[in-house]
Symmetry: C2
Subunit: 519 residues, 2 copies
Amino acid sequence: MSQQAVNGVQSRGKVLTLDNMNPNVKQVYYAVPRSHSPTGGADREGAERVSHYFLHLFLKRYSAAQIFTDPCLNLPQGVKKPFTEVIKANIGDAHAMGQKPITFLRQVLALCSYPELLEDTKFPEDAKKRARRILEACGGHSIGAYSASQGIECIRQDVARYIEKRDGGISSNPDNIYLSTGASDAIVTMLKLLVCGEGRDRTGVMISIPQYPLYSAALADLGAVQINYYLDEDKCWGLDVAELKRSLNAARQHCNPRVLCIINPGNPTGQVQSRQCIEDVIRFAKEEHLFLMADEVYQDNVYAEGCEFHSFKKVLFEMGPEYSSTVEMASFHSTSKCYMGECGFRGGYMEIINMDPEVKAQLTKLVSVRLCPPVPGQALLDLVVNPPQPDEPSYATFMKERTAVLAALAEKAKITEQIFNTVPGITCNPVQGAMYTFPRITLPQKAIDKAKAEGQAPDMLYCMKLLEEEGICLVPGSGFGQREGTFHFRMTILPPTEKLKIVLQKISAFHLRFTQEFS
Amino acid sequence: MSQQAVNGVQSRGKVLTLDNMNPNVKQVYYAVPRSHSPTGGADREGAERVSHYFLHLFLKRYSAAQIFTDPCLNLPQGVKKPFTEVIKANIGDAHAMGQKPITFLRQVLALCSYPELLEDTKFPEDAKKRARRILEACGGHSIGAYSASQGIECIRQDVARYIEKRDGGISSNPDNIYLSTGASDAIVTMLKLLVCGEGRDRTGVMISIPQYPLYSAALADLGAVQINYYLDEDKCWGLDVAELKRSLNAARQHCNPRVLCIINPGNPTGQVQSRQCIEDVIRFAKEEHLFLMADEVYQDNVYAEGCEFHSFKKVLFEMGPEYSSTVEMASFHSTSKCYMGECGFRGGYMEIINMDPEVKAQLTKLVSVRLCPPVPGQALLDLVVNPPQPDEPSYATFMKERTAVLAALAEKAKITEQIFNTVPGITCNPVQGAMYTFPRITLPQKAIDKAKAEGQAPDMLYCMKLLEEEGICLVPGSGFGQREGTFHFRMTILPPTEKLKIVLQKISAFHLRFTQEFS
């Protein structure tokens, strides 16, 4: 007899169980691996402990993508490992990889947090000026007050001016700017607005494969239909309109495709789209009556020679009024990437274009439910879009720090491609932009069979073994989606250059070992 | 012929329109007023301008509650008004009403933002110690790194210790603490987990009327069924289990009630629940197999003599293992209220109790989609739950500032009740806690008729006129829900004492004028 029955209480079980919870939430990260023991034949205590950590996560029904992107990958203290530290090349978290914050940004944030410092002569005048302006725009001159739900007005004005400058003068209206809690928040909000219908009328959303898992997660949560279009690995992860058409036509058999999501520069694939490609995509969106969502959070992360960032908005407007007055789109940006890497502040914005005014009112209403985006993140965004000018005292240092970060990333992008392409069985496209490489790995059939027998994705087996043996944490390609029968991993290029070289060499050696072991 | 047709392009209208957007989002704030001209017979330019501002909002389909809680209520510059400033007594935004941030909190935030200040002798050692500890817990020692999705571990430990101390030693597990982007975020996440089923099986959620509009908004968004239970205005907005039963039984005819939400201390009603009442509610939740959501963000805002805050968790555990081991609940807290009032940082946490471990894994997965709560808000929360201790240098100042804020609120709570209750036609319950008064107003039949003829809630007419004539912004009771035929408004008690007195006198005089005008 159960304890509850003994106590005379009817045993009805939990109110909330896996069986009666929101079914959409359960579908988030559809590629949930079965629970299993990844320790396998590992014989070292450290490796076992690492594996147990992952087993623990697995049993909690984490998916591949999530385990490896979870920022909390910390090993229990005192664990013996066959390596001295875990290198988290799994997530685009620049500061965690040792990148120093930009001085000017942090000075202004400190001034905003504790305005008594405005009297301190240690702080440059331009930092103080920015802080005073932000504080004046806040209720009660405090970043502790709520802001307008859409974001502080003068910051939205600064964002609009920044966009105008970026896009060669094409006008931007601050009313169309919504500040957000990182880009993720705005992307989910925009998707939420767009989803409706049931059965065959259910909204379908086109996303690239490989994709960033936020999209699949949000679509599952909203009960929308995910429509996959494949990037062409052989053409440097290029986007081909013929593939968009194939994917769309197939989807029209079972849902109502209404949205096309593009990530440029690409995550996890690191490609930078050409102007021509963007024009083709816009034409396709117009012809097929699709709402365009342009995830452009890596817009300052372009490294490859001959590559240049073209915003979807600029291309749209250069295509003339037939397009610029009709194609509905939203563009997303963030303070988490580029040279700043300020992920923890959760700053970002979206710009909407050609949105129906009645829908826009609904959007404004929707964002007001959560009151406002974090004000420190808004302040940070203001500094990103309104950085020190050449005649200001912080300019030289700011430019030096900014350039150093971007130059190092460009160098690391090149080193990564070069080293991986020397390894038999690893093929790596150029890292044109963003912060990731997504090389293809050839896995021996025996490894594939072993993984399948264990109910595991083969690239998960590979990444798990790498983690156990070398303490290097990557994300298996299966977490992002990939063409059937191909295998990849995502690695950030964020570790400091010297450490990155060691990481690349260790992965290369591991790959050879892995191949031999299963040959 | 349209421009599109001229251009040879098929005119298909917008991709995204009010007719084909997410229908749940449209239902958010169900009490959407019809568009109308609120200027009426106003004859002063200023008043007209104010009204036009609201008309503008109305036309955007804002609801009563939203207009008045929108933090961006700023009048266009250069507008002549019959008053010198708009007093925003509509939203619980302490800093916007002039409350100064607590020095210690802001010192630590400045140190975390710009760690170079750790060398500065102006900052006290305990502030530096806290900042160093927080920075050590951050990736790369920077608050710009992502944290674990559930929140920084050492901060969750501090929260657990804080809860244990608050609840007389009842243990709290850091694994059950989830840091959040303000309390709103956690409340919406928890509701999302709980909602499932279709038609008569759809999840029903019990909320108090009057309610805080986040709840109705979130339920509409999730497509859940809102179940209203009424607080008893005659018993100081008390909660009666007989009313809970009535409401639940009625709801069982058309949905599957699974959740009971309680706000204590109450918003907008300001009551503080007795220990006995909380025990009754817990017993009811257990008997009726309901998940309890305890919104306790005003837990430090208790003013009335004889009133005391009892956490739902403490009462639950004091009721013995029959309850403490079975009743599933979540409790919510925030950095936005109490003595801190740091709304802009969007800090908060929830503690879950007795949640099914499989569901908990799903919760952890769900929060990881948004990566992490804002780290500055997490840091702020850490200081709230781990404030200066008696032997530390900041203790005296911290306590002085904290006590001053809470004592002023207690005084203002009393003044508000006293002044309103001298006015014929205004009846005001004691403001036992939280930051609001929700007085009942008697409106002349002619005013009610006029409002109804204009398709407007009568208390909206009242609040609109008050705003136009006096520049005082309140929220009409219809924005929160109230018993049919009764009228109220919500006013914060946050304006500085001397200004609050003037506000109260102006409202009193307005009420008499309004009554005469329509008699």
